[in-house]
């Protein structure tokens, strides 16, 4: 307090606790928000409300037994986690995956990317106050993808499909025709959906220029995925560090310049189209042969360490495994995309309104299971 009498209106910032059970925290995220009226002065993110100790649990399980745990990390895109973990184990144990297995992996990974972006875009629009309609439209498409996943592995959400050395079972006969029918239909839907939202003045007012993430900050924070690409960082592990058979496909990396919420939304929509393009190519090229290498149920990789990473739907998802030549990983560290992508949230929201905080947070696209692990 200054000693001189101030004539101007005295205002005082107040602290608002958001979460852990708040409608738009995508799970159990919590923020301590310091507000001056409607303006966000500062936020203090708090995690751990879904900290289940997955890294510790993995140390008690066999390498194959860990796969169900990876499903439950980022439950919005379970297949991606399976893939990242298996890539890491294969790197550690030097296992080669047969061609057919790789193609099936690519198809499923791109499918889950579409499913994840459906959820991400839908929930961002929901946070912007669109009261469910776009969310439900996108969820309807996601539901169709669930059908295809169910055909593959019998599970809708947590697939547990990709295994060390390949996939758990071969494609059913009716899968590829069904997928082939689904791709053009989804393409049509995406175009239609974009048409609806392109001219929406309120969405543009709410998202364009909001929550700008500059390129250098994004890089310094270690941000990856659509969030980084919307800020102009043209980095995609599918191109830069090709795993699986991604080097055989032709696709673009959509990027944007401004790094605002609207660009993130647009990048995600473009990525869905590119994923469809990859699926289109992969369907035509799926080779015959075994879908899985001959890998025993219980493997003992040689002592050492390996870091395997993939371009997951949310960004770089990596598993750092240390082996001591026993049947369980000695240490498994999960480089979780959501956790690191949240690092920049504080810089992004400062000075915006509380309503923008929600939209910016939604546009980052996180899953709490992956943040807290």
């Amino acid at each position: 307090m200054t000693t001189t009498q101030e004539i101007s209106l005295q205002t005082e910032p107040f602290v608002l606790n958001m979460g852990p059970l708040h409608p738009s925290t995508h799970g159990v995220y919590r923020m301590r928000v310091t507000l001056d009226g409607e303006v966000v002065l500062d936020i203090e993110p708090m995690f751990g409300y879904l900290h289940r100790g997955i890294e510790k649990l993995m140390e008690e399980r066999t390498y194959t037994g860990c796969i169900p745990l990876t499903d439950r990390l980022d439950y919005a895109s379970a297949m991606g986690n399976n893939l990242a973990y298996c890539v890491a184990v294969e790197k550690l144990a030097k296992i080669r995956v047969p061609e057919r297995g790789e193609y099936i992996r690519v198809i499923t990974a791109e499918m889950i990317r579409i499913a994840n972006h459906c959820l991400a875009v839908g929930s961002m629009l929901n946070d912007a106050g669109a009261l469910g309609t776009p969310f439900f439209y996108l969820w309807n498409e996601r539901e169709k993808l669930y059908d295809l996943f169910e055909m593959l592995c019998g599970q809708r959400v947590l697939h547990n499909y990709i295994r060390i050395g390949g996939v758990s079972q071969d494609l059913p006969d009716e899968f590829l025709p069904a997928l082939e029918k689904f791709v053009p239909q989804l393409h049509k839907f995406i175009n239609e959906f974009e048409f609806f939202l392109k001219q929406n003045e309120i969405l543009i007012a709410r998202a364009q220029g909001v929550g700008v993430l500059p390129k250098d900050v994004a890089l310094n924070c270690g941000i990856s995925g659509p969030l980084a690409r919307a800020s102009g960082i043209k980095r995609d592990l599918r191109k830069d560090d090709p795993y699986s058979v991604y080097d055989r496909f032709e696709f673009d990396i959509p990027t944007a310049e401004n790094g605002d919420c609207y660009d993130r939304y647009r990048v995600r929509m473009e990525e869905m189209k590119q994923s469809l393009h990859i699926i289109d190519q992969a369907i035509k090229k799926v080779p015959g042969g075994p879908f899985r290498a001959k890998v025993p149920q219980i493997i003992r990789p040689p002592a050492g360490e390996a870091y395997g990473h993939i371009e997951g739907p949310k960004g770089e998802l990596g598993f750092y495994l240390v082996s001591d030549n026993s049947i369980a990983p000695y240490r498994c560290h999960i480089r979780s995309t959501s956790f690191i992508n949240l690092t920049a949230l504080r810089q992004m929201v400062k000075g915006w309104k509380i309503a923008d905080l929600i939209v910016i947070f939604g546009s980052i696209d996180i899953t709490m299971g992956e943040v807290d692990r």
């Binding site: 751990g48 890294e55 830069d240 560090d241 870091y307």
Partner: protein
Amino acid sequence: MTTALSAKEIVSKLSAEFPDAVKEAGADSVLVKSASLPAVTEYLKTADGLKFDYINYITAIDYYDYFEVVYMMTSTEYNRSVTLKTRCETRNRPTVPSLAGIYQGADWQEREVYDLMGITFKGHPNMKRVFLWEGFDGHPLRKDWNK
């Protein structure tokens, strides 16, 4: 393809700047003395031809005798990666200098390591527990921790 910079290459580059920073060179990782870690990282981040501007992950491993803290950095410009390691020998309040001033991405990851492994990062602006609550007994990812 992100190629890992071989240990030999890093050592040759580092030895000119920091003669006694490197303790040991593994196959594709370099063990650095913990005291010189910030200087080495700063150099790797800014030096021409290196530019490791993106931090992939920070983690720690408990080997009973010592803790190993692992850093992986990638250069988005040259598409190369490097893995640095450092060790702290003591089990009671092990300390490593913080990189939060150099990479913002290190901020929360160091807090996570502190929370789960109990390694304090010196110079970190906000060294608090991140996942578990204040007052949680011990650090669960240590090998000798049990309920």
